[in-house]
Symmetry: C2
Subunit: 265 residues, 2 copies
């Protein structure tokens, strides 16, 4: 259990206080948090809640969306929130193509430029920008960074303490170069998130993930690969699925712990 972390988005119906209490009761050492529910609860207040509970905040989701208006202010705020919550790792989901655009290269350049602008602010706050490649099925509308290789091409322009990458099994498992890229990532691995791939995908494809062990991803191979690359951080179970969300929080957490211990740890 030492490296287990429960990502808040795995149980969206669970209030933050109940989630924190549930994690403490279950002996969970860390949580991955999301900005929207944290802001709703109050950032300072959430920071105090998790600190007093003795929980580590293993990552904050998410900054990014660099093609949206106001992205700079929004990301500066996200950096501040990460620092307040006491996590080093701010997950960045880059955003998709601007409306009406067919220029994916330009969108990718824009992501790289935006990250360059944010680096000094993140460094000043003691926060690392963790670029998350999302599955190519999200390229148009959510994230133009589709592979770990692309994320590293950007990250490597900066210090590994300033810009890292997220390894999420759900997004990367299909890529025949992924294990080479994980080795390349080394100490840039800022977060390791696990979810399994199942079919058929639901409409909109966002809520089709499964707990580790329920799908076709070789979880332990990923775990071994990030370990071999030198990663010693948390293993975050992060699963979005309507059926899972419909269950009570403590049940979801128990299922996530079992899946983690059986298929990843």
């Amino acid at each position: 259990m030492a490296r287990f972390s429960f990502n808040q988005a795995t149980a969206t119906g669970w209030g933050l206080e109940e989630l924190v209490a549930g994690c403490v009761a279950a002996g969970v050492p860390g949580v991955g948090l999301w900005r929207e529910p944290v802001r709703e609860y109050g950032v300072e207040r959430a920071a105090r809640l998790v600190r007093e509970a003795g929980l580590a905040v293993t990552s904050l989701c998410r900054g990014g969306f660099f093609t949206a208006d106001g992205w700079r202010d929004e990301n500066l705020r996200a950096i501040e929130e990460a620092a307040t919550l006491g996590t080093r790792e701010l997950v960045l989901v880059s955003g998709g193509l601007p409306a009406g655009s067919r220029d994916v290269d330009a969108a990718r350049d824009r992501v790289a430029d935006a990250i360059g602008e944010l680096v000094p602010h993140a460094e000043a706050a003691g926060v690392r920008l963790a670029i998350e490649p999302l599955h190519p099925m999200f390229c148009a509308d959510r994230c133009v960074i589709s592979t770990l290789g692309q994320a590293l091409d950007i990250a490597e322009r900066y210090d590994p303490g300033a810009v890292g990458v997220v390894v999420d099994t759900y997004h990367l498992w299909w890529d025949d170069t992924v294990f080479r890229q994980i080795a390349r990532a080394g100490d840039r691995i800022a977060a390791f998130q696990v979810a399994d791939w199942i079919t058929p995908l639901p409409e909109g494809v966002l809520l089709g993930r499964a707990l580790p062990g329920e799908g076709c991803i070789d979880m332990r191979r990923f775990r071994d690969a990030v370990d071999a690359a030198g990663y010693r951080g948390a293993i975050e179970v992060e699963v979005f699925h309507a059926d899972l969300w419909a269950r009570p929080g403590p049940e979801i957490l128990a299922a996530a712990i079992t899946a983690h211990l059986t298929h990843v740890a």
Copy 2:
């Protein structure tokens, strides 16, 4: 119009005779056919129908599915059907992971081995095996060959006249290496298929394609890239969408021609 080809799966409700008559009436020079409707009509009979109409068969979809029982006989039959229909290009969709498997490397090795077994049969029949990479969202259940690079890694073990690749804009547009891979493909490009990417994806993600120009893919960049690689073959419009399928065949064909002339030709 000289390079336009109408893929039969763009109008699944249109009977073969009506489709052939409609193509002739519209001045369409070629069609891409699918095995199931062709077999239903009768392969010899279909061959005669398109030959007498003066239509070229630009490709036959599809062999492959190498992880299914009986794949060898099924693919030998597909090679024969392609030869009978007078097309050189047999599109291969590799199949996904075997049920219960988490070993995507093994599935990919199996695809390469299966193609190796089929090459002499295809060569004897004057048919080219055209490996089609499908979008990574189909990796688990439909096609473990997810990038043009992977398809070429297999194809390059054989003569370019024996094993080629399919360039389909819908499956490949997100890949930051795709234009390099198209240049690498050169005379292995066996078919060029066009469909556009739109969101949200529907449940099951199979029927979410759009006509060229309706989505976010830079069609002309692909067209220029295959031309620069030396491709002189057909440009097949191949779009699966429930709304499109619901329209009368002649309307679908007219829309496909307009999309082709406006955004690809």
